[in-house]
Symmetry: C2
């Protein structure tokens, strides 16, 4: 491991993950900050970055590259969306310049896709993980890949020859959160009941009529004697399986095309169960490592310009 050469940040809505990387892209140090852009006042991102993030690593002089919602109107500066299809080179060509303590700094643009019902779909941050995953092995940049990034707003991405062709967002994680906190399905219980999760997978059917299928999470307790504590697990299974069953069709891919799960390990393991139940081949990769690789690859290409 060499000395720090780059400060790389995945700066999202709820928090900021930062790493210093050496000249080969290896992680030197890693810190997290309670600085999600949703908590920042307008104009505050640059100040907090200079006052807290750079000093925490002693990295005031280092070049910096940042991805995520920091490039939105809630963040530091608006890094305009790049339109699909888009690959690593094209993304590196439109990094948005900012400056921090006089050092080179760039924000990765989000990506926009022709979406459903005439509305464009958008992402900020997931494109960097995707590019990192593609950059990690050259053979991933040929042929066709379907990548699913689970999360608050899960992304299903179709990649052809290393370029993101189109994607669809499913707000599965957000549905889970708001229903679990604010609806008749609310519960304080943890979502760790595997049999209830599996029952939720079954109850999702083919991902149709979700509003009706969701009510089974209530009726199985009120009318069927299931424990209220099992509701979050059942709800989680139902929502994930409904996504896995129906969203690939919207992406225009075959129902059983193999899937790459890229993201949080725990979440990916839930999606893995849902995919396995449908007989869909899949592999799982760590999203954080992919984010670091993506930031490093984009920096390497962007700084060379």
């Amino acid at each position: 491991m060499g000395k720090p050469a780059l400060l790389a940040c995945d700066w999202g809505t709820t928090n900021l993950r930062a790493w210093t990387l050496d000249a080969d892209g290896q992680v030197v140090a890693h810190k997290e900050f309670d600085l999600g852009v949703s908590r920042l006042a307008p104009g505050e991102a640059a100040k907090r970055f200079e006052a807290e993030v750079q000093p925490a690593f002693g990295a005031q002089g280092l070049p910096a590259i940042l991805c995520g919602m920091v490039g939105s109107n809630l963040g530091w500066t608006v890094a305009p969306y790049a339109d699909c299809p888009v690959g690593l080179d094209e993304l590196a060509a439109c990094l948005a310049p900012v400056e921090a303590h006089g050092a080179w700094a760039r924000i990765v643009p989000g990506v926009r896709s022709q979406g459903l019902a005439g509305a464009p779909d958008v992402m900020r941050g997931e494109e960097t993980q995707l590019m990192g995953w593609l950059a990690e092995h050259p053979d991933r940049r040929s042929g066709r890949r379907v990548i699913c990034h689970p999360g608050t707003h899960a992304k299903w991405m179709l990649v052809e020859d290393g370029r993101l062709v189109r994607f669809v967002t499913a707000m599965t994680g957000e549905l889970f959160a708001v229903l679990g906190k604010h609806s008749v399905l609310k519960s304080e219980a943890p979502a760790n009941d595997i049999p209830a999760f599996e029952m939720g997978l079954v109850a999702a059917g083919e991902g149709d009529a979700l509003a009706a299928r969701l009510f089974t999470a209530r009726s199985r307790v009120v009318g069927g004697g299931a424990s209220a504590e099992s509701t979050p697990s059942y709800l989680s299974g139902l929502l994930i399986a409904a996504e896995v069953a129906a969203v690939p069709r919207l992406l225009g891919i075959a129902a059983h095309e193999p899937v790459v799960l890229l993201g949080d390990e725990r979440l990916c393991s839930l999606y893995s169960r849902a995919l396995a139940r449908r007989g869909v081949a899949h592999e799982t990769f760590d999203g954080e490592a992919a984010a670091v690789a993506g930031l490093f690859a984009l920096y390497s290409l962007g700084a060379a310009r």
Copy 2:
């Protein structure tokens, strides 16, 4: 209009509607009370009924009949569910007895149906509106009818020869409320933008992949330049059309079977737009009048026993 002969109550989760009816079932007086069972402590329903509802009408000596969540474990006493298939006579045969100031009083049981994914589906209150609608005209009690009752938990009911055969609940209204208040789609704007509502109808597709279709309510604003104020209307159209497209299949009926809309006038008019767009023939009836008719019919049969 004769003198009061019955105190009839539709006592739900959020409020209590009460009427005095004459011996022919005509409404003499109508009042609403802020006494939804979700606001009551255990054991409080009987006391508040005697202390507030009966005196408000000067109706301490009248017989009373009540339907809705007042028959649940949150209410006055548990009126055990009647199982489908169930008609007016069968429902009247299992009214749950309570007593108020010494007067005859009965609570209408809820109804239970074999539901999705092995979970029973349940209703409390809608069965009374349904029975009232059926009781209003004898010819409604022959043949096959599909009744949709829009609401927080919308009910789709299949009736054959006057008996409720089965039903499916869709938590469409609750999804609209929690997403509009607590999610990335939250907005204070009123849902009265008809073009945005119609765009939502289109965006619902065939009611599949709802978590993905919902995200268009966000991306059309963030990436597509739609006004944030139009989000509630768009969301309303999307959720209602998704229900109308997909739930009939779950009920086991043909996609274009004619539908009776029974419920709140404004809500029914939104469902009417969604059904019209799909070319589904439908008629609308007032849910409150049906509740009164149902309570009177159940009382008439129940008191005669």
